[in-house]
Symmetry: C3
Subunit: 394 residues, 3 copies
C-alpha cells in the first residue's frame, strides 16, 4: 500500500536511501482516526474543520487557509485534486467542491498508505463515514474503538425520564461495555473535555454512581452530556477492567477544554492505582504536553502516547514536534495516528507529515552516525506499525 | 525605511532571494514598545537594563554582557558604534558611553526599519523618551497605548486621602478610559505583575469597586499600587468595553511576577465571557508559554499574540522560538513587537533577530518546497505589518 | 585529561576547528554525579538502571535498549568494550557482562574527560563506589555533596524509639550539618521526591520541628523516610544557613515524584526569602522545566541550573535540549553535570553528549557569525568548568 504518486520526501536532503524507502513505503496503522464527511460541505464548514480550537465561524477578516494545515493542504493535496502544488486557496476550494465526498476520499485516503484504521466511532457532529466506507474508499482494514461517554449518554437517552435508569445504570453500563469489548479493539475517553484530569480517581461505589445518574437525569438537558466526575471515574474504571486498551484524549482540543487541566501529569492518581496496571493507557495527541506524555510512557509500563493531531496542526513545524516526541519514552511506547476527522486531507497529511518528519529527524541522526540506519528503519516500523499491532492485537 | 547598512541576513544560507529581500527591507510595525532612556546612564544601569528578571544589581562575579542579548549587542550594534563585530564588552561600553542618548537613538532606532511604533507610555522607572522623540529620532510614526494600572493609580494619587475618591472611582475611571480612547490606539494591562491571571474575572459592581478603592486608600502606601483583584477585573472590563485592542503582558517578566500564574491558559475565564468577545486581546511576549498562546489565538477569534521580548532575550536561539510561534495560530493572529525599553539596542535587535529568524525558518520551508516563496513573503508582511495595521486601525 | 580515543565530534560538520578542539579536550567538572555499581549486575538491573522513571522491571514485550540512552550506549560505549559501533543489544550486554565492575569503570570513566567529580554520596539503593574508587578508576579528583534527607534519616535511625530524639533533633541536625559543612562542598535536597515544591517555606520553629519528628517516630516505618513538609523546610533552611551551595533535584525523576509539583517556579516562595539570598541554589536536571529554570537563573543572583540527566535520557535529541538551556540564563549561571548513577556509561555519555551538543549548537552560531568563536570557547569553559570552580570553591 505505497503512498503512490506523492513523493513524500520531496525537498529533503541527506536521508539515507534505505530509510527513505522505508519511510515512503511503510504501510501504517493509524491507531486513532475518525471517518470522513459523508455529505458535501460548504466552504465555511471546510475551514472550520481544520481549526481544532474554535467552535465559531472563521472571522471575516481571515481565512483558515492561512495556517500551517492550510498551507499543507495546498502543498500536498492540491496535486491530487488536479492542481499545481501551492495552488491558491480559492482554486483549492473550487476543485475540492467539484468532487463528491466519496471521490475525495478515494483520491486522498489510499495515498496515506495506511493498512489499518483504528476508528473512534463515537463522535459524529454530522454524518460521517463508518468503518465500511473507510475500508472501501481507502483499501485499508478497519477496527473500532468505543467512546465511553457516548455509551453512557445513549443509555440515558434510551430511557429518558425512566426512574429505573439511575439504579440500573452501573449494571447496564457494565453490560454495554462487556458487549462492546466483544467487537471493539479498545475504548476511548474524552474526560479531558468533560471535567479535566484533576478529579478524584477512586473507583466509585454503585450507589454513588446511581446517585450521580439521578442528579444527571434531573438536570433535564435536551441532549444529556456526561460531565460528572463520579461518572467519569466510573466509566473509565469499568473500561479499564476489560483490559482492552484505553485511549485518552490529552492536550490540544477545542476551547471548551481547559487545556491546562489536560496536562497528563494530572492523571498520575489514576495511573498509580493498582487496578489500572495491566491495561494499556494510550495518551492521544498530547500537544503541548508531549514531553510530559513521554515521561509517563517511560515511567509506567502500560502507558503509550502519540503526537497525532498536533502533527497536522503544526504542519511544516511538525519535524520539531516529532523530534520532541523521540526523547524520554522507550520506542516500544510510541504510536502513529492522524486523528483525521471529516476531511480526508487530514487522514492523508497525518501520514505524509509523519513520514517526512521521522525520516528527517532520524535521517539526521543516521547521517551523524548517532543511530545506525538499520535501527532507524526498525524504530520507524515499531512506531508506525509494530507497537499498535501488539497493543491492539491486530 | 530599509535597515540600511546592516546586513541582517549575514551568515544565513539558502534563503530564497525574494524572501531575503522582503525580510531585509520590510518596513515593520512594532506593536508594543517603550521609549529610550532620555539621560545618560552608568554601566550598572545599562547591564541591569537587559536582565529582564532581576531587580537587583548584576552580581560582581559576572557581567550581563555574557548572555544572549549581550552577545547580540556586540554582534549587531557594535558596528553602529564604530566598533568591530563582536567587540569586547568593555570596548562596547566605552563606545556607547561616549555618545549622548539622542545620538545613540539616532544611530540605532532608524536601522530597525520600523515605520510605526505603538508605544506603551505608562511605565517610566526613569526619564524615558516619548512618542515625539521616538518619531524624530527614528523617522517612524508613533501611536499610544494607555496602561490601565497607571490610569487608576494616577486617579488615586491625584486626590490622596480624599474620601470622595472611593465612591467616585468607578465613574472617574470610566471617564478617564473614555478620554484615553479618544487619543490612544489601545490599552494595556500588567495584571500579570499585580495578581496573576487566576482571579475572579466576573465584572464587579461599582459598589464592590468602591469598597476595594476604600481599602486601597486605607493601605497608606507612599506610592499607591493597584494590586487588588477586584480592581484588576474592573479596569480590564472597562477597557474591554471600549472595543479598542487590549494588550496583556504574558509570561517572562521580572521576578515580582509568579511566572506560572501568568500562563495564558489561566485567562480562559476572562476570554470566555460574552462581553469580551469582539475586543482584540493581544497576548504580549508569552515566553515560555508561547505554545499555549498560539493555542488561544487559534481557539478565540479575538485573541492575538507575539513573541517579542523573548526574541531579544534568547538572542541566537530566537530562530527556535520564532519557529515555535509558527505552530497552531493562524497567521492572521500573530504580530511583531520588540518590547524595547530604555536601550535603543533592544528596539533594533528585536527587528534584526525577527527578520533573521523569520527568514531562516520560512526559508527552510521554502527550500524544502513545503511553503511557496510567495506565501512566505505574504506571511512575513502579514505578521510584520498587516495584522497590526488592521487590529489597531493604523 | 582528553577524551582519548573517542572522536566525540564524529559526524558533525561545520564546527570551527578551535571550538572543536576545545569541546573535545576540555577537562570538565561534573558538578553532580554518583558512584558506580560496585558489584556485578544482571541484565534486568542493567536495563532498569537507564529507565529513570519506572521502579518496575522492564516489561517483557520490550527492551530498554530501544531508547535514546540505549542507542547512545551502543554507539559510544560499544567500541570501548571491543565491539563495533551500534553493536546489537545482546552483544553489548554479553561484552559488558564479561567485564568486572572495576574494569568497566576503568574503560569508561576516564574517557569522560572529567577532572573533578562532585559526588552526591547519599543515595545508595545498592553497593556503589565512593569517592576513593571514583578517583582511582577515573583519574579525576572528587568532592562530596551531602544529602540532607539522608542525614536526617540516619539521625532518626541511630536512636529508634528514643524519646529524646524529637526534642534533640533540631540541635542534632544543625550539628550534623555543621560537621558535614566542614568536609563537603555543598548539600543536596530531594524535596522534589518527598513533598514536591509547593510547601510552606517559612523556617519552622524548633518546637514545630520537634513535634514533626515525634509524629515521624510514631509512624513506625521500618525504614524512616522524611516526607514531612515542616522537616523539609527545616533541613533546607539549616543547610542554606551554612552558605554552602544547595543542590535541588528538579523535574525528571522516578514516578514517585509528582512531576508537575517539581516545576521550579514553585520554589519562588523559598527563593524570595531574605535568608536564602547569598546561598547558591543549584537547580539540577530540570527537564522538562529547563526553560523555567533558566528564567530563575536570570531572575535570582544566586540561582544556577544544569540540564544533566536529561541530556543522557534524550540521547540524540540532546542538542535541542542543550540549545534550549542556552536561552534566558546568563552564561555565568549554568553548569555541566552527568548525574551518572550506577552505570559508568552514564558518566561517560553525559560528557560525550554535552561536548557534541555544545559544539554543534554554538558552532552553528559561530558559522552564522552570530557569536565569535572566541566567545564560544570561553562560554564552553565557563559552563563546563569555571562556574563550578567558583561556586563550589574547587
Amino acid at each position: 500500500m505505497p503512498v503512490g504518486d506523492i513523493d513524500v520526501l520531496a525537498g529533503l536532503d541527506g536521508i539515507p536511501d534505505g530509510l527513505a524507502e522505508e519511510a515512503t513505503e511503510l504501510a501504517l496503522i493509524d491507531h486513532h482516526v475518525h471517518g470522513c464527511f459523508a455529505d458535501p460541505i460548504d466552504r465555511a464548514t471546510f475551514e472550520e474543520a481544520f481549526n481544532e480550537g474554535s467552535p465559531d465561524p472563521i472571522p471575516s477578516f481571515m481565512t483558515q487557509f492561512d495556517s500551517q494545515p492550510g498551507f499543507a493542504f495546498r502543498r500536498w493535496c492540491a496535486p491530487l485534486l488536479g492542481l499545481e502544488r501551492h495552488a491558491a486557496a480559492d482554486d483549492y476550494w473550487a476543485a475540492r467542491a467539484a468532487l463528491s465526498p466519496a471521490e475525495l476520499d478515494r483520491r486522498l485516503l489510499a495515498r496515506a498508505g495506511v493498512e489499518h484504521w483504528v476508528m473512534d466511532t463515537g463522535f459524529n457532529t454530522r454524518a460521517i463515514t463508518g468503518p465500511a466506507e473507510m475500508a472501501a474508499e481507502s483499501g485499508g482494514a478497519t477496527s473500532e474503538i468505543v467512546r465511553l461517554e457516548a455509551v453512557a449518554e445513549s443509555l440515558l437517552a434510551a430511557r429518558p425520564g425512566a426512574g429505573a435508569v439511575a439504579s440500573d445504570f452501573p449494571e447496564d453500563f457494565r453490560a454495554a461495555v462487556a458487549d462492546a469489548a466483544g467487537r471493539a479493539k479498545g475504548f476511548k475517553t474524552v474526560v479531558a473535555y468533560r471535567t479535566g484530569f484533576d478529579i478524584d480517581w477512586t473507583p466509585p461505589s454503585d450507589a454513588d454512581v446511581s446517585a450521580a445518574v439521578a442528579r444527571w437525569q434531573a438536570s433535564e438537558e435536551a441532549v444529556p452530556r456526561l460531565v460528572d466526575p463520579v461518572l467519569e471515574s466510573f466509566v473509565v474504571h469499568t473500561a479499564v477492567a476489560t483490559r482492552l486498551p484505553l485511549q485518552v484524549h490529552v492536550g490540544l482540543g477545542d476551547r471548551d477544554l481547559d487545556l491546562h487541566r489536560t496536562n497528563p501529569m494530572l492523571l498520575l492518581p489514576l495511573l498509580r492505582r493498582p487496578g489500572v496496571r495491566g491495561t494499556a493507557i494510550m495518551l492521544l495527541h498530547c500537544y503541548p504536553y508531549h514531553r510530559e506524555a513521554g515521561y509517563l510512557a517511560q515511567a509506567f509500563d502500560d502507558v503509550y502516547f502519540d503526537v497525532g493531531l498536533g502533527v497536522n496542526y503544526v504542519g511544516a513545524q511538525s519535524r520539531q514536534l516529532i523530534a520532541e516526541s523521540l526523547e524520554l519514552a522507550p520506542f516500544a511506547k510510541q504510536l502513529y495516528s492522524s486523528d483525521g476527522f471529516g476531511l480526508p486531507e487530514l487522514h492523508l497529511l497525518g501520514a505524509v507529515l509523519w513520514r517526512r518528519g521521522m525520516a528527517e529527524v532520524m535521517g539526521r541522526w543516521v547521517a551523524a552516525d548517532e543511530w545506525s540506519e538499520a535501527d532507524a528503519r526498525r524504530i520507524l516500523r515499531l512506531i508506525g506499525v509494530g507497537n499498535a499491532r501488539r497493543v491492539y492485537d491486530l
